[in-house]
């Protein structure tokens, strides 16, 4: 290591003539984009949602230092804004990829935002909007059709969900907008992008919790996934409100965390999702620090923490209001008189079967790969293989489950890989 002859030096001549396309505008895609642009490379970033930032922008805090997402994202947004070599498209879905390594032609479709760049994000459109987007994974119930990413909006402009908006039949937002920003007749557009290299940073999905029938996710509103819980915590931090449980709006006193919900299970995901143990410890420590009325208990098979995340375990072990119990939860049942949720589990350390009641249950769900983009090779679980014959470069959590800090390192490495001829 450190041998000057083998070390790659980046110079102007190393940059490609064609821009590098990055698919996915989450923390990894953004990282690759700014690294490349700051090394002198033209990049085009495309994101299917209306905002950059991906999952991290909705988080309460993230690894490794448990910072709020603003901590890492704002500086990156600033780097994007100030760098003329980065162009980006939001609401962009991939139509097809043609060509070969060094000369790709990519067609993307842009869904209409229905609000143009004149928007000052005053929010009047959302105030009068009568339509609501359906509540979905982590999406706050009651979000209007005219909305802005309630985490860290980039671009800092409202948009309208074309699938919910009634367009001209309603048009109340048109009347209140003082900046002529509303364009209800906008239609989808298609754009062709020529690219020398493609970095795929499509990230992860959460495993479908309704498939784990024993955990009654479909039946019980107080059984939530860890991503939903993360966003609930984020909403509490943002709006400075108390944490309440979904079923009756009361403050939960006991919250159980169920590890390996879907992971390490031959009936679901055979692999370890790698981040869920750290995530649940993070949640428990957040509750311990900010919600003194709530006790947390984590049920685990093994606590699997890597690198510096190990210290989360040491911290949690010292806390009186955090209990760590070895044993995989077998079933979640409704409590007596429909109060609370009963967890059936063998406490392996004591060798006794427990049936205790909790006010709320957080499922530490496994991570799945994103659907396959055309021409990419995947492993047995559907994650992208690191080396692709097509020359495309998958990066970060679409290759295997990994936390933010690992993803950022991998995205930086992918940027370097993309610049090498």
């Amino acid at each position: 290591m450190g041998d000057d002859q083998t070390r790659n030096t980046i110079s102007e001549t190393d940059t490609l003539n064609l821009p590098i396309l990055i698919i996915g505008g989450g923390i990894s895609g953004i990282t690759s984009a700014v690294e490349l642009a700051e090394a002198g490379q033209e990049v085009v970033l495309i994101e299917k949602e209306n905002y950059l930032g991906g999952n991290v922008s909705h988080f309460n805090n993230y690894f490794p230092k448990l910072c709020p997402p603003s901590c890492g994202l704002e500086i990156n947004y600033q780097r994007i804004r100030s760098n003329p070599r980065i162009s980006y498209y939001t609401g962009a879905s991939l139509k097809n990829i043609c060509g070969t390594d060094g000369d790709f032609m990519v067609n993307i479709q842009l869904k209409p935002r229905l609000i143009n760049n004149s928007c000052t994000s005053c929010g009047k459109c959302a105030e009068v909007c009568p339509e609501e987007r359906p509540a979905k994974l982590g999406r706050t119930a009651g979000e209007k059709a005219a909305f802005i990413n309630n985490g860290l909006a980039f671009p800092m402009k409202y948009c309208i969900d074309p699938e919910v908006c009634k367009r001209e039949a309603c048009a109340r937002c048109l009347e209140v907008c003082d900046y002529n920003a509303i364009q209800l007749d906008a239609s989808p557009a298609e754009v062709g992008i020529q690219a020398g290299k493609i970095i795929v940073a499509t990230g992860w999905n959460l495993y479908n919790a309704t498939l784990i029938e024993n955990y009654r996710y479909s039946e019980e509103s107080d059984v939530v996934t860890n991503v939903e819980f993360e966003r609930m915590l984020a909403a509490c931090t943002r709006e400075k409100i108390k944490l309440t449980r979904p079923s009756d709006g009361l403050t939960p006193r006991r919250i159980a965390f169920v590890q390996c919900a879907g992971s390490r299970d031959i009936n679901h995901l055979p692999y370890c999702s790698a981040v869920c143990c750290s995530a649940s410890l993070k949640h428990a420590l957040t509750l311990e620090a900010e919600y003194p009325e709530i006790d947390a208990e984590i049920f685990y098979i093994d606590m699997r923490l890597s690198g510096r995340n190990e210290k989360l375990l040491k911290q949690a072990e010292e806390k009186e209001r955090i209990t760590l119990t070895k044993g995989k939860v077998g079933r979640i049942l409704p409590g007596d008189e429909e109060k609370g949720l009963v967890l059936e589990v063998e406490d392996i350390s004591s060798g006794c079967k427990r049936k205790d009641t909790y006010d709320m249950v957080v499922l530490a769900m496994g991570l799945t790969p994103t659907p396959v983009a055309a021409g990419l090779k995947v492993n047995e679980y559907g994650f992208y293989l690191p080396d692709q014959p097509s020359g495309m470069i998958p990066t970060a959590s679409c290759k295997r489950p990994m936390d933010v800090s690992s993803s950022v390192k991998d995205a930086t490495a992918s940027a370097l890989k993309a610049m090498q001829r």
Binding site: N214, I266, G327, G330, R331, C352, K353
Partner: protein
């Protein structure tokens, strides 16, 4: 310091019988958590899984809990590693029959297909010997009259004596089983209560433990049919033996006991039909079927079928009537005499284990 003596041969045997990759078990405890019958204190089957993986035969042979399991298969269905705890427990039970069999040879005889010809030959030779001794070993002319060929008194007497002898041998094994249970699962501080005979009898008759099981109501129906069909047939047979001594035998088709006997065989056929269907087509719930499972299903099926045919042959004056009766007697031997050493031995072992478990308050 305790010493662990793994019995690798025992582990290999369990692996072969259950088809389970014991080393794949990660001891997560999901099996114990989903089991509806596992007691609160020291639930099963997670601990049985680690003992099996380590080849700890001594811990598993006197184990009470494997007999509390009624094989609903929930532990296997939801096992995240597909190590099939239900099949492992079933394999431990199979091994127990052989372990406690005295002489050991009798356990081997009915647990391995290699010995099947000998297992069949023994009753064949004994029956022929009885016929020779009675001097009736010649098919009589005229309408079918079984007593002209089979000396009922001698046959019934010899069969009863051999059955009692075999069961006496088995009782020694059950005695050792009881002693092992006391070592493996000593009574708690509350001590041991008087034997809760009526409670266990009620559990068995009502099949209440099957209802406690998660996803297996079809298993309960089939077992109920077989259990009561079998009980009924034994009662009818005892009556028939008594009838041969006291008054005219065979019984006419209109005799209430004859009708009951036929009803019982219908029940047994239905039960067997369901069980076979489940073993063949619902493997995900009913697990792997071993030689002993099929042996006993086949023996009961042949016993009931030949019994029905023997009766038809008598009324229909079939020429093969005597051959059928001979076959029927061999099947009787298989089911009744070999009972403590085959899978049907669960009648003795499970009852004993239930008596012990309930007497120490384990539920």
């Amino acid at each position: 310091m305790s010493t662990i003596n793994p019995d690798l041969g025992f582990k290999r045997k369990l692996t072969r019988l259950s088809g389970s990759q014991l080393n794949q078990c990660m001891q997560c405890g999901n099996c114990s958590a989903v089991c509806s019958l596992a007691p609160t204190e020291r639930p099963f089957p997670r601990k049985e899984m680690i003992w099996s993986g380590w080849g700890l035969k001594d811990k598993l042979m006197g184990n009470v809990d494997i007999w509390l399991c009624h094989q609903c298969g929930d532990c296997s269905t939801y096992c995240p590693r597909d190590v099939k705890p239900a099949d492992v427990i079933s394999a431990i039970r199979q091994t127990s029959y052989q372990h406690y069999a005295r002489p050991l040879f009798l356990g081997k005889l009915v647990s391995n297909p290699v010995w099947l010809p000998l297992a069949i030959a023994i009753p064949v030779v004994v029956i022929i010997a009885i016929l020779f001794l009675a001097g009736t070993f010649k098919i009589p002319p005229g309408p079918v009259d079984y007593s002209a060929f089979f000396p009922h008194g001698l046959l019934n007497g010899t069969f009863s004596a051999i059955t009692l002898f075999f069961y006496l041998l088995a009782s020694f094994g059950i005695g050792r089983f009881w002693k092992d249970m006391k070592i493996q699962t000593p009574p708690g501080e509350a001590g041991r209560k008087r034997l809760p005979v009526f409670r266990v009898l009620r559990e068995i008759l009502s099949h209440s433990n099957f209802s406690g099981c998660g996803s297996r109501t079809p298993g309960k129906v089939a077992h109920l049919l077989l259990f009561f069909g079998f009980t009924l047939l034994i009662m009818v047979t005892l009556y028939a033996i008594w009838a041969t001594v006291t008054h005219h035998y065979p019984l006419p088709i209109t005799n209430p006991f004859k009708i009951l006997g036929n009803l019982a065989s219908v029940m047994i056929f239905s039960g067997l039909g369901i069980m076979t269907w489940q073993r063949l087509f619902n493997k995900s719930v009913f697990g792997k079927s071993a030689y002993t499972d099929w042996l006993i299903l086949a023996a009961i099926a042949l016993l009931t079928l030949s019994g029905t045919l023997v009766q038809l042959a008598r009324f229909g004056d079939w020429s093969i009537a005597y051959h059928l009766y001979f076959f029927h007697l061999v099947a009787v031997w298989f089911v009744i005499m070999y009972m403590p050493f085959t899978k049907l031995g669960h009648i003795f072992y499970r009852t004993t284990a239930l008596l012990y478990a309930r007497s120490i308050g384990r539920k």
